[in-house]
């Protein structure tokens, strides 16, 4: 099914402390995507802006950003599913084009997290879960994912060394990604317990350590979608959306079925996307998964069918998900190296897969001219799940 294509991608560098406001941050990704697509604002029919609220002070950001990007008087609006906002935005844009309502849609994800402190940021993330019944205990994202890690590690013999291996892989590619926030190499010694010099070893929410967690960052991403007619007219290398899956899960930890089985939304969204694309996990040549924490990447392998439940660890032990392995995953450094500017993350993952399928990923390019790529983008602690499959 080749009805809607990505015809332009852009991303700002992901940084700590961006020196500009959200409109300027958004423009960085927009400029690159528009130049990539080779179109002007006149060629855009609608825009969708995506972020998690309360990091900056702007209410209803679509209005101010559409003005700054020169996208008036076309319709614009805001889409939010926390960490998966821009994947959700792409799903909405796809639907608008597929329905025939619009021909070309801009999906722009952004987040400027550095306007508040890390503790304030944790409080907002905690409030992305249930503020009535859980945030009053002092919850935060690392603690929520640690609940999954604890139960999963106890049942499936996943070790701290396995989690470290996920971070070491991310570091391998973060070093070569000029847009990543964390580009320093990481070594096993950095995880040595009890060594004050080991900067990755300190506990954050046990069993997760500093090195198991991605960092806050400022960043923007932009994906330009078009229908088949416009895509063929504008783009030499359109990348088609072949399958989309999305699911939700109870926000409350007390309503989660089984912590040893990973995130239910990962499985549900993947099944939908594979069915729509008419492919199986074996057909995927390169993937981006939501590694906000090391444990999340292991769980993603299983949700996506790259490994059976409980066996995700084998992929990292055998380096199957390295660039020259059977199924390369996060060879742009993932969230762990790139940083996680919440609303921009999904678009950044989609940009990476688009560049991989075009053969334009530079030092991160996977060999063998990959024809099918997959993006797995989770919102909250498996609250929202999005899987999108792309093809040439």
């Amino acid at each position: 099914m080749k009805d809607v294509a990505v015809i332009g991608v852009g991303q700002s560098s992901f940084v700590r402390g961006y020196e500009g406001s959200i409109r300027e941050l958004a423009f960085e990704a927009f400029r690159e995507a528009m130049q990539d697509a080779g179109i002007t604002q006149k060629g855009v029919d609608a825009s969708i802006f995506c972020s998690a609220p309360e990091y900056d002070k702007q209410r209803s950001p679509a209005g101010v950003l559409a003005e700054y990007l020169g996208l008036n008087p076309q319709p614009t609006f805001y889409v939010e599913s926390v960490c998966s906002s821009s994947s959700t935005g792409v799903k909405v844009g796809y639907s608008m084009i597929k329905s025939g309502l619009h021909d070309v849609v801009v999906v722009l994800g952004f987040q400027k997290m550095s306007e508040i402190t890390s503790a304030e940021s944790q409080e907002r993330m905690g409030r992305g879960a249930d503020i009535q019944w859980e945030a009053p205990f002092g919850t935060m994202m690392p603690a929520y994912y640690a609940l999954y890690a604890q139960a999963y590690m106890a049942k499936h013999d996943l070790t701290h060394d396995d989690l470290m291996s996920v971070r070491l892989k991310a570091s391998t590619y973060g070093v070569i990604n000029e847009r990543a926030v964390y580009r320093k190499p990481i070594k096993p010694e950095d995880f040595k317990q009890g060594d004050p010099e080991a900067k990755m070893a300190g506990p954050v929410a046990w069993p997760l350590r500093v090195g198991d967690c991605c960092a806050n960052a400022d960043g923007s991403s932009c994906i330009i979608l078009a229908n088949a007619k416009k895509a063929k007219a504008f783009s030499k290398k359109p990348v088609w959306i072949l399958g989309i899956g999305a699911a939700s899960e109870a926000v409350n930890m007390a309503a989660r079925p089984d912590f040893t089985k990973g995130l239910s939304v990962g499985y549900a969204a993947a099944a939908q996307a594979y069915k729509m694309a008419g492919i199986t996990p074996k057909d995927v040549k390169v993937a981006e998964v939501h590694d906000c924490f090391t444990i999340a990447e292991i769980m993603a392998y299983e949700g996506l069918g790259f490994a059976p439940m409980g066996e995700g660890k084998q992929l990292i032990r055998e380096k199957t998900t390295y660039k020259d392995g059977k199924i390369p995953v996060n060879v742009d450094g993932g969230l762990l190296s790139k940083g996680h500017p919440i609303g921009a993350t999904g678009g950044s993952q989609i940009r990476t897969i688009t560049l991989q399928l075009r053969g334009e990923a530079g030092p991160m390019q996977v060999a063998g001219e990959p024809d099918i790529g997959l993006v797995h983008n989770i919102g909250g602690v498996g609250l929202y799940g999005n899987v999108t499959i792309f093809g040439r």
Binding site: L147, A154, A205, M253, A254
Partner: protein, 137 residues
């Protein structure tokens, strides 16, 4: 009593389930049960998601459960800075009833294990905030 009294720090003042806090003050940790279809809920709900009824009653949560998972937080969000380290977990009581809370300080972190038998009890903080915690059987 208003719901702002719930937990270490509440983010909600008004809810139809605010009686939960009064029950905590009486020493009870209770969920809600639908008078029409019998569905049980924890955390408490004012509306039955199964049959759409708003005729809800309160029931006392079971005393015995198993710790399904847990984590110890060494950093805390804004507003909880004085608390770390603190351990939080999920208790499974069976029959679909589960509960999320902090684990009592009288269990040493190294003694907390997945699958251990635990109970729950109400808790009053020094500033009169009311909560509940997971504790030893």
């Amino acid at each position: 009593m208003g719901f702002e009294k719930f937990g270490r720090k509440s983010f909600t003042a008004v809810t139809k389930t605010a009686k939960f806090v009064d029950l905590l003050a009486e020493g009870k940790v209770e969920g809600t049960v639908c008078k029409d279809c019998g569905a049980k809920f924890f955390p408490p709900r004012a509306d039955c998601a199964k049959c759409f009824s708003k005729n809800m009653d309160w029931f006392e949560m079971p005393k015995k459960g198993k710790l399904e998972t847990f984590t110890t937080a060494y950093y805390a969000p804004f507003g909880f800075e004085g608390d770390p380290p603190y351990t939080m977990g999920v208790v499974d009581f069976g029959d679909g009833l589960k509960l999320f809370a902090r684990i009592a300080k009288d269990i040493k972190p190294e003694d907390v294990k997945v699958g251990m038998d635990v109970t729950i009890r109400p808790l009053k903080y020094d500033d009169d905030q009311l909560s509940f915690e997971i504790s030893k059987v």
